[in-house]
Amino acid sequence: MQDSILISTSRDAAKVMNRSDLTRRLVARLKNEEAVVGGIGHTHFDLWAAGQRPQNFYMLGSMGLAAPIALGVAMAQPRRQVFALEGDGSLLMQLGALGTIAAVNPKNLAVIVWDNGAYQITGAQPTMTSTNVDLVAIARGAGLARSTWAKDEAHFEALVDFALKGDGPVFICARTDHQPPAGTTERDANKIRTRFMEGVLDGKSRA
């Protein structure tokens, strides 16, 4: 790895941070109508709470598909930077997606995983990351060379800036706590889709 930002911190050495705070830090760095796909549950609740950008897509269902949906957006619009936000439990449902992203190799895609080691929204039952699974190791094994743990908030922000350079695909895993989300997304699926399309297609809601 040539870029020093992609240091090999281990999961154990990574600081446990707050998902709402990190989401706000991410959104604050988005200046060019970057697309963000927020995965099911608290992940998209916090994306909503960080400000309802037109280029945000909030997933009310289809657990595990934040990265595939973001990959589709990235393939359709290679000049737009795209972020997928996903929880550890969700990603565990669709690990094959990491291999697909590596195969397609989109420079403009970053996958950010909030790893709190739990299915927080259903009662905080533990996920496999709390005991034996290292998602960064899996991402690397899937062929995503630019994969790393965020060791603290400053490093997370530096990793977002690295992703914004468009030299991806980038995979960022951040350990997070069990604090509740900062808000709740309005549950109107078609409105979410329409707004997102208008946000990335110059006001059009059909393609």
Binding site: L65, P68, Q77, Q94, G96, T100, N190, R193, R206, A207
Partner: protein
Amino acid sequence: MAEEMAGRAGESWDEIVVRVLKGNEVKLVAYVPDKVLAPLIKRMQADSWFTVISPAREEEAVGIVTGAYMAGLRGIVLMQTSGFTTLANVLASLTVPCQIPLLMMISERGTIGDHQLGQAIVCRTMRPILETLGIEHFAIQRPEDVEFVTDRMIKQAYSTQAAAAMILSPLLTSRGKKSY
């Protein structure tokens, strides 16, 4: 695009499908392998018009094609019956409520002579899923219907913002063959 709807003389079903997809600006193809679909997949891979990818699961393919559609790139998911039947959750929680004109082409396995027990049982769950979700579907049986049905179903999907399941019956794809 030519107006004739009966297909051109000597064209195979997969040649017609390629022509119809091009006529409707469908460029992204996400497939999960199937023996019946193999000639179509091979034809698309050899044609630079298409971007062809092979995700690990059908559900993932639906996610990719949905994201691409929302960002302006039309696509289609190719799969066999057993793969389709893994999709109830994503269809019910993403495709239908978000009004995504998801194009699906499904090779129908498990019926009219398929020796695979698993395919046969799972096949019987396909239409109940489609009907419960209110998804337009049609099984194409005759070569002369391929162009008319696929072109019309694709156009209807985009004009009504609703998914379409184009089912390829063994009557279309396996007639004259001894087995699947």
